[in-house]
Amino acid sequence: MTPDALALQTETVAAWTALAPAILLGLTGLALLGVDTLWPDDPSNAVLAGVAAAGSILSFAVTGWFLVAGTGQASTGGAIALYGDALVVDGMSLFFTLIFTVVTAMVVVAAYDYLDDHSHRAEFYSLTLFAATGMAVMATANSLATVFISLELASLPSYALVAFLKTDRGSVEAGLKYFLIGAVSSAVLAFGISLVYAVTGSLVLGDVAAAIGTPEMAGVLGLGVLMILGGFAFKTASVPFHFWAPEAYEGAPAPISAFLSSASKAAGFAVAFRVFVQAFPLEAVPAGVDWVIAFQVLAVVTMTLGNFAAATQENVKRMLAYSSIGHAGYALIGLAALTAGGPNGDVLGASMAHLLVYGFMNTGAFLFIALVEHWGVGRTFEDYNGLASTAPIAAVAMTVFMFSLAGLPPFGGFLSKYVLFYSAIEAGFWWLAAVGAVNSALSLFYYSRVVKAMWIETPVADFEIESRPVGLYTAVLFAGVGTLLLLPGFGPVIETAQTVAATLF
């Protein structure tokens, strides 16, 4: 592998090829539109899903190859900067792209069944792919400008996708709320960026970092930093920009909920990590602009609010929505536990690894919801009673997701949460770990409610489940297997994550 990887650095292959994953996603999106236009009357669902899945899987493969080959990583000469440092391809961007692509793949495969009786399928798939493209670019964005643009590129299709079920009031309402909060947030982000530009006179992260040392206008800088933080908080569904999340996830088509709560959230963290670590390095920021404390506050509030609100839900999908807010809180530890000269690589890497595992288990959980919706079973815990007796395999998978989300062994979620708390303690923030521990203990309560409903309770009415949708099953089982395999296979994941994270500092 290494020769090819090295080749990417040389002139034999143009450097832009390092963006192949993002490009592939974008092209797939266009291709889907093309199919839609060229195809006589409504194109077959299978073809569209096939193309979308193929594109995302191909992109996933390429990303994986780059990652293994060491493209943009220390082994082959470090990050590849493109277009005047507007974009940069490095280990972290590839790592996140891995998450986006695999989630996208699962989502489109699942959507194959979900969209069976809907129109505008092509739009659905292509919007998904475009959003994924935006996320892939977010991961590589190295300038506040590209950050903003790619973020919008990811967001705009998402708005549409959430409101995809035009006739469904829930979907529309979700889309509206998502859009309005999103619009406000992006305005805040833009204003924040403009303020930072006002202080530093540059948008490229590196130059910003170089320029912020100057103490004058520290207030403006701090204002800008906090507003940027707010913009990212929206993307990651963190307090206080989380309000859209419960409704959006509940109202949106379940595959889209999965997509947003896993991939989109991860994308938010991708930019947040890069921007704050690269543009506002702790060593450089003025004393008054100590954003770590802000993230600590957000992390604690977010995980607590998410878990406590989730504990009292009756609607499984909404419970998952809140729980994904809670998980945003865990992931925020990655930024909250940073210290000047601390084991930052470990902390950030642990957070990234958690997001990867979360990508599997949370996507799987939402796709299970999609499966249940596909069967026309209700959404409350009571409706799930005794589901295991009718659909044992899917129920086993859901059980795995739930326990893994709760952080119980022997599942991936246990290990990633373990390493996350572990590195938080390592960084000296044992109280962050303690809050996280208390929360995940509480989360065990509501996650096990789902398990209890499926396995322990007796069904109120017998389900009429006629179909075993192959796409949904494939996606769910894939996610389940992934969640399981990530326990033994966690070694390379965490090692990669922590190495690539370390290079950011």
Binding site: F148, A160, V172, F179, A183, P246
Partner: protein, 100 residues
């Protein structure tokens, strides 16, 4: 020349006006317009300080922002249309089927 602080104050004022609109207006379209105001507040800064710093980064980004604002409005109008269809109205506070 005009001290840069003035630009900041102006943009802040515009931003706050937009924000005020968002907080007070229940009509989805007015809501959108307020967002536009906030984005333009950002543009003021970008352009002004592009001049102050003597590079065009800010202006370029300002253009991008406008384009994105337009795109956003496009999507927004679409959503507001379906909102109108299913909640027969554009009052954003009507859509409250999901809460808590």
């Amino acid at each position: 020349m005009v001290p840069p602080e003035y630009y900041l104050l102006l943009s802040a004022a515009v931003f706050c006006i937009g924000l005020f609109g968002i907080l007070t207006r229940r009509n989805a379209l007015l809501f959108l317009m307020s967002v536009e105001l906030m984005l333009n507040a950002a543009n003021i800064n970008l352009v002004a300080f592009s001049y102050v710093w003597g590079n065009i980064t800010g202006q370029t980004f300002g253009l991008f922002t406008m384009a994105l604002a337009a795109a956003e409005v496009a999507v927004g109008i679409g959503i507001i249309l379906v909102l109108y269809r299913s909640f027969d109205g554009v009052d954003v506070t009507d859509a409250t089927t999901m809460r808590w």
